[in-house]
């Protein structure tokens, strides 16, 4: 069997790629991310922080914040618990992390557990306000703030990125993979009024 057959297809492939007129909200799928959930072992928090700092040059944030360093980022998703991401590292990321910090933390590969949408545009906050019950005002939800919350009965995780070059707000919104199409529909419907475009590479 050829390896190329063993490949994924985006869950959004068959979804409508645009709605309404204009580009009030532009979406794209974040692909290839390595995602790992790390949880400090009991009473190992300080050691873990030191180790992560030393090996990954990353300070683990204490609350629902995201810290970045190169391709790496750690988002606080619970007490002593983070979602770490690494650009285009896929499943190998968790395996590598396990080797380097597994003594102090449980490392669980969740690269496939989520689908992630990058959302930007002049009206992205208004569209998101229809979905998530979190205050996304620029003063309340700053760049690298993280929120885990609920959108139309789905558990979602959201963080804010740097504004785009055009000065528009940008976010990443993720949901359990099985919910991909339901979440997409919700985003699509919320954004349609402002013009929604899904960009595929």
């Amino acid at each position: 069997m050829v390896d190329s057959a063993y490949g994924p297809l985006s869950p959004f492939a068959a979804m409508p790629a645009s709605a309404g007129t204009g580009e009030g909200v532009v979406a794209g799928e974040r692909e290839g991310l390595g995602i790992a959930r790390i949880t400090a072992r009991n009473r190992q928090l300080a050691a873990l922080e030191q180790l992560v700092h030393k090996r990954l040059h990353l300070a683990l944030p204490a609350g629902p914040r995201r810290m970045r360093s190169g391709d790496l980022a750690a988002a606080g998703v619970g007490p002593e618990c983070w979602l770490m991401t690494c650009e285009s590292a896929g499943n190998a990321f968790a395996a590598g992390l396990r080797d380097s910090i597994g003594g102090h933390a449980a490392v669980v590969d969740l690269s496939d557990a989520y689908v992630m949408l990058r959302l930007a545009g002049a009206r992205v906050r208004e569209a998101l306000a229809k979905l998530v019950p979190v205050d996304l005002h620029e003063r309340s939800f700053q760049v690298d703030d993280v929120a885990q919350t609920v959108a139309e009965h789905m558990a979602v995780t959201l963080w804010r990125l740097e504004d785009t070059g055009r000065g528009e707000a940008a976010f990443e919104l993720s949901v359990g993979r099985s919910f991909a199409q339901s979440l997409y529909r919700a985003v699509h419907d919320s954004a349609a009024e402002f013009g929604f475009v899904f960009e595929t590479r």
């Binding site: 629902p64 606080g76 007490p79 618990c81 929120a147 885990q148 919350t149 609920v150 558990a155």
Partner: protein
Amino acid sequence: MRIECPFCGERDHSEFAYLGDAGCARPAPGAADAQARFVEAVYLRENPAGAHRELWYHEFGCRSWVQVTRDTRTHEILEVRLAGASAAP
């Protein structure tokens, strides 16, 4: 109702799942009267009209169990903290 999750911040209570009375610790399983104590812990929970210590689970958030002190007459929330913190030896 808005519950100030110690980790996530203030959220609507609908993000949380409710368990109830936080006061009923699990009795010692080996005690001679263990059955009677378990019956009490499981079935005879506090049900005051007033301040109530209760457990909520931030299911749609950070998945922490939190202990909320809330007035059951007004729904005013008096205190929130992580549930396990106090029980740890």
